[in-house]
Each structure stands twice: as C-alpha cells, then as structure tokens.
Amino acid sequence: MNEKHHESIFRIMFLVIQEVWRNRKRILKLALFEKKAKQGGMVLGSIWDFLNPALQIFVYWFVFSVGLKMTSMRGEVPYSLWMMSGILPWFWINGSIVLATNSICVSSSILQNIKFSLASVPVKAVVIEWINHLWTICILVPVMFLLGVHPRWSMLGVFYYMFAGGCFLVAFGIFSSAINAVFRDFLQILNPILRLLFYVSSVIWSIDSLAPKMQTILRLNPITYIIEGYRNSLLYSVGIFENIGSVIYFWIFVFALYAIACKIHWRLRKNFIDVI
C-alpha cells in the first residue's frame, strides 16, 4: 500500500500509460457501444454519425458563404471554410474536455460495482468524441475540395494535429476527471474558462491581427496551436515543422500536463470509489 506513495513520477507516468495501452481495444469497443447507446431508439441510428456533421457544415456554409458572403481573414479562402477549419476542431476539444472531466463522476455506479481501469475512463470519453470528430473531418475535406480548395499533400498534416490534440486531451482528461471526482465544482469553474478560450484560441477570428506581444501570450495556449495547425494544414499548406519553436513548446506543455495529471490521478485514485 505504502509503496505507491513513493513511486517516482516517471514510474507513475509509465504505469498510467501502460494501463491505458493494455486496455486500448477494450476502450475503443466500449466507446463504440456507448456511442451506439446514445443513438438507441432513433430511427436513423448510426446514420446520424454522418448526418450530424454534414448538416453542421451545410449550415455554416449556407450562413457564411451564401447568406452573409463574408470575406476571409487571410488569403483567398471563403470565410465559411476558414471558420469551419477552426470551429470544428474546437467543438471536438470542447466536447472532449467536458465529457472527460465528468467521466469518472458519471460512471460512479459502474465503478463502484465493477473493477475497471480508472485511467481508461477519461480516455474512453476522449475516444468517443474523437470518433465523432473523425467523421466531421472526413466530410469537411471533400466539401473543401468542392468549394475550390486544391488537394495538397500538406493537408495530411491534419492527422498530426489530430494526434497532438488527442494527446493533449488525454493528458487533460486524466487531470480534470481526477480533480472533478473529488471536487465537483471544477466543471463549473472550467465552463467559463472554456468560453473564454473559445474567443482567444483563434477559433472564429484570427489572432494574427493583434500586437505581436499579445499574439505570443495567446499562443501559450496549446489549443491555439491545434486550431491554427488545422487551419494551416487544411487551407494554407503550411508544414508541420515550419514553426519548430511552437512544436517544441506544445509537446513540453503536454508532457508537463501529463506528469501533473498522473501525479494527481495516482494520489487520488484509491479515494475515487469512496467519494464519487
């Protein structure tokens, strides 16, 4: 029992990732079942996987390209595409953060009766949202071609940013689900922060127009890195490593967040069942 407290942080980080890795297939299958359960009782069922993002993209295109005819923030790109390539990954990030933060609390009845890998619970939440996001991107890209964006190899960079975003979300999910399990107010604090981040993460307006100092500060936010990355690779054929400084900063941030997350998760882990 006492050994656990004296384990080094690197050992804990390894043990957590190992636990998740061993459960990877299980997490994916459970995520698919839970997605299916959410569509239970609907006539169209899993067709909504496709229909939901398709309708969302159609609405944005209709409002901003047909209705408002807004011009782009940068280059020759329609505003609707510019905005979608930012807001769609944002919905993924925002949705994952909320779902993962709540994940341990809402599974209380299962976790109290079934011995399930605790580190896998927030990861499962991230995976559920990721599957939805993957559908969205699979629909967005052909729509972009239809609207005049030329296919380029650099667009594949979107998969790197999806992976980077996933790593950030897993680290954050392990952190926030542990905090929220013992401190329920956390999600209430997180909500206004997320609303703020929506406006400062380059989601609906470009931070390029701000003063350089301000830009630097806003780019400390790792979500900005993901959102700008999506846009750069989908619309502007900017390579992944063109700004090597931000790549290094992002991964150090994720690594540090993961370290803190593991530390907190490990410390609170044995209390989860008794407090949720």
């Binding site: 359960a37 079934i114 407090v275």
Partner: protein, 273 residues
C-alpha cells in the same frame, strides 16, 4: 470443511479496517482528502478487526443487517476499494456482480453481454466463448436482440444473473438475491452454482434471504456493525442468526443501537460451535 488445508486458501484477510470520513461539509471532506489527519472529521468505521479465510470450492454466505459492512467487505475482496489498514491476499481472478450495474438499457441484450464483460476485463474472444452459454442460461428467446429497455424487470435480472454465473473467474461475489425468475430458473441457478463449486471455484454470496443461504452455502459469516460475530457451518450459524433477527425485530430503536450480539447469546441449547 475440516479437511481443508492451507494450500486451499484462496482469500486471506488479515485485520482489515475500513474507515469512511464523514465531513459535515463538502469543503471539509475535500480538505480531509488532501491533508489527511489535519482536519478533524468524524469517522464512520465500516469494518474493523476483520480476519478470515476462504477456501477453494466453497460457497460462503455473508449475512448481517443493513449497514453491517457486507458491501464494503465484498468491494474490498473484489479489489474495487482498498482497506484503510490490514492485508488482503486474493489468489486468482475475482469478480463482483451486481446484476444491474454495467447494463445499458439502450443496447440489446447481446450487446450488453459484450458491454458488461468488456467492463469486467474480458477480451472479445473470451466473451465470444461465453456468449452462447449466457444466452442459453438467460433463456429470454428472441428478446436477446431487442433493446434492453423493452425487457421486463425479470428478464433484465435474468440476463444480468446469467452473465454473472457464466463468467470464467476463480472467485465470484454475488451481491444480490437470486430473487429472479421462476422456480425453474432458481433450480438452474442452483445447478450452476454447484458446478462452480465442483470446478473448485469460490462463491461469496451476499443476501438477505436466509432460505437461499440454507440452500447454497457451506459456511456463513455474520457481520454486525463492521465486526465478524461468527463464521461457521451454515445450519448452526443460520439458526443463531435467525434467533438474533427475531429478537432484533422486537427491539425499540434505542435498544437496537445498544445491541452488541455475541454468538453465545443466540446459541440454541442443542447447538455447539
């Protein structure tokens, strides 16, 4: 059980103590969690001085009033929660089964078999191997491919129990009465549990039904206010516990609080443990 030797011990529990802190506010509860022992919160002692051993191939019944620590003890054995102090050594795979947890009403019965077993830690191939046995045992016909929200409560419990009893584990904790299904289902449950026993697997059976305990169990543990009052052969323990319950039911609220039962006080004249 006299013939049991120490190599047959599958669970060894030594001096377990389990304390739940009772904060009078959420803030205090949080502070106690972060800085244990610095904040004086009342403690609820769920289990104390609990020591016992279980053998391979026996069915042990766990009896006691509400709040006596039965569920806490099962959770500790299942590894879901850990004791505040004391040791527990479990040799093998252990599953605790509450028939209704881990079931999703929007999924079909078949999907729920997979969903629940995945949660319990089985792999897809293992589940596929158990699937037919579970479906056959549940005996809910074409409903197996219908969403579970369309099931009657009897069908839900039957499927839940069918999953529990067909799992390939060394120790099974059944934290619910077998008050599911008709007489025919009850007979099949009993047969299945006896087969479990023959395979040298251990069942810990938590129930309020003394009749079922008498039917299945080899030994009975009696818990009261977190302590083991007695652990012995079924007929003797159940008649003692029966006497206790009878007296308990006639007591007023205050007398009940003060009651500290011992084996001796409820022992019928013709029984010696």
């Amino acid at each position: 059980m006299e013939s049991q030797n120490s190599s047959d011990v599958i669970i060894r529990i030594n001096q377990i103590l389990k304390i739940y802190p009772l904060g009078d506010s959420e803030l205090k509860r949080l502070l106690d969690l972060l800085f244990p022992k610095h904040y004086s919160v009342a403690n609820y002692v769920a289990l104390q001085n609990v020591s016992c051993e279980f053998y391979r191939g026996e069915i042990v019944g766990l009896v006691g009033l509400n709040g006596s620590g039965k569920s806490t003890l099962s959770r500790i054995i299942a590894g879901i929660t850990s004791p505040t102090s004391g040791d527990i050594d479990v040799q093998g795979e252990c599953s605790m089964l509450s028939t209704n947890s881990g079931m999703n009403l929007q999924l079909t019965g078949r999907e729920n078999i997979y969903y629940k077993c995945l949660l319990l830690g089985f792999t897809n191939n293992q589940i596929r191997a158990m699937e037919n046995d579970i479906i056959e045992f549940a005996d809910i016909g074409v409903y197996i491919d219908q969403p579970m929200r369309t099931y009657s409560s009897g069908m839900r419990s039957r499927l839940g129990f069918a999953i529990s009893i067909n799992l390939n584990v060394d120790i099974l904790i059944i934290d619910e009465a077998l008050a599911v299904g008709d007489a025919n289902f009850a007979i099949r449950c009993k047969e299945k549990m006896m087969q479990f026993k023959q395979d040298k697997k251990t069942i810990l059976f938590v129930s309020h039904s003394i009749a079922q305990m008498r039917d299945f169990c080899d030994r009975i543990i009696w818990l009261h206010k977190g302590k083991i009052i007695g652990f012995g052969p079924t007929p003797e323990m159940l008649s003692i516990y029966g006497n206790f319950i009878q007296e308990f039911n006639h007591l007023g609220k205050e007398q009940r609080e003060l009651l500290t039962p011992t084996l001796m006080s409820y022992q019928p004249d013709d029984i010696k443990i």
